[in-house]
Symmetry: C2
Subunit: 279 residues, 2 copies
């Protein structure tokens, strides 16, 4: 079966591999699409990273990540905007499909979610012209509500799409099953996102029961309770047929295993648990 539909977010093997090692390990499994994080790119250097991508004909399904707009003061917001513009340039250099945006949570000491959410809109509006000129789509990733305080105050697909519609062209969403699987409005919002052409990426992993850590206990596809096949079917029905990108943060399990084992498991589970049942 083809692996065209599979991408590996390099956070999944960040403890095992450098960027160059991760690319080599993916290719060894037949995987030809990746999504790196900026720290991984910075460690090797943007030029070298782009060269590795190009010479191996890799698809980059996203660069992680821009965002993190809410700040305690205007200088903080301005600094975030500058950094996001650099992130757009890096995504362009890597020929990434999109720049993933994790919008940021509450500034330290704040309890004002509406204010933080407005800062997100302001920050996105400030970088969107540069993104459009650069032909680099911005992909808002709504994060699970348990991250509202410290990582992202955009917490549902509905909310992310409202922001997109406010801002216009050049911006869409990442649908990461870990963050949205619980949402009673998930299917209707996937359809809405597809109808407006705003599905830019589809991330997969699984929700474990029990979940032992809020951040670093994501599961391998098939080991948890997310209806991966059902969600993928809805995403395809909405018109998105791009790769599924495996993104697993797992400090006590997958990050401790050999990278080749992790990647081989991703390939196996992609085939067995992630593609819509054909009837």
């Amino acid at each position: 079966m083809s692996l065209d539909g599979l991408s590996i977010n390099l956070a999944t093997v960040r403890k095992q591999y450098t960027f160059a090692q991760a690319v080599e390990a993916c290719l060894a499994q037949g995987i030809t699409a990746i999504a790196p994080w900026r720290d991984q790119i910075h460690a090797i250097g943007l030029k070298e990273a782009a060269s590795i991508v190009q010479s191996n004909n890799m698809r980059v399904t996203g660069l992680c990540r821009g965002g993190m707009f809410p700040a305690a003061d205007k200088a903080g917001l301005a600094a975030a905007i500058d950094d996001n513009k650099r992130a757009i340039d890096e995504a362009v250099a890597l020929h990434a499909d999109c720049l993933v945006i994790v919008v940021g949570g509450l500034p330290s000491g704040s309890r004002e979610l509406p204010t933080a959410r407005q800062m997100v809109v302001d920050g996105l509006a400030a970088i969107l012209p540069h993104a459009r000129e650069s032909h680099m789509p911005l992909a808002i990733e709504p994060l699970h509500p348990m991250y509202a305080a410290d990582r992202a105050c955009v917490n549902t697909l509905e909310q992310a799409l409202d922001v997109c519609e406010l801002l216009g062209e050049g911006i869409g969403v990442v649908i990461d099953v870990y963050h949205v699987w619980w949402d009673p409005k998930l299917l209707s919002q996937i359809a809405r996102a597809g109808a407006s052409g705003r599905i830019l990426a589809h991330h997969i992993c699984d929700w474990l029961v029990p979940t032992r850590d809020l951040l670093l206990d994501r599961g391998m596809m098939g080991d948890g309770v997310i209806d991966l096949q059902g969600i993928r079917a809805a995403i395809e029905a909405a018109g998105y047929h791009g790769p599924q990108e495996v993104e697993i943060f797992s400090s006590e399990n997958w990050w401790k295993r050999p990278g080749a084992e992790v990647l081989a498991t991703c390939v196996e589970r992609f085939h067995t648990t992630c593609c819509p049942r054909t009837t």
Copy 2:
């Protein structure tokens, strides 16, 4: 300042006190409203518990808890329905304001949230006639989305109110800030709940940053990031002026402190951080 507006959910001091001890400790602080859990009632016996409540003229702001409907088979759902009818009777015996409903998550091995959610509606529909005859309101508590798999597949106020409207009279919601504070639609849904007279209880605690455990790391009011005063103002503007009920599960902090210290802190924080600012 009066303590009429303060209730203590006895889970807050469950490691320190039996039911009878908890009542005594609350009265010593001037607290005259409580919300017990069924296991605490069963330990002392319903008749004795009811006698203690009555002789001390305590208000019972809710009995925790009914619900837990989704089951692997019909026998499981039938057993849950029977147990919920007994819970209604116990709430009546205690003259509780409502029976708190934590609806339940996915049956073991299931990935089908829509099926579980339908079982919740079916279960509630099955017990609602008994609740109405008993004049005991059912109060659906939407739980934070991080509990969708293992505790409750009703995860937003909007979703809970949709269920209420489907089922009609005799059913409403608990608004627990811990579960709903992140919701971008919170204020509009509080207004909707108030307009239909469905706000039956208001639970408080705080969301800590970082949160170290998904279940047992709730914070004392004022120690986290929830805008308690703002949410209370919205709830009062929606027409609900009943008590705020402190419910804190805290295995590593508050459950390890002397009960009197915990209760005194609840009283202090209620005054300093929970009541709407008067301007």
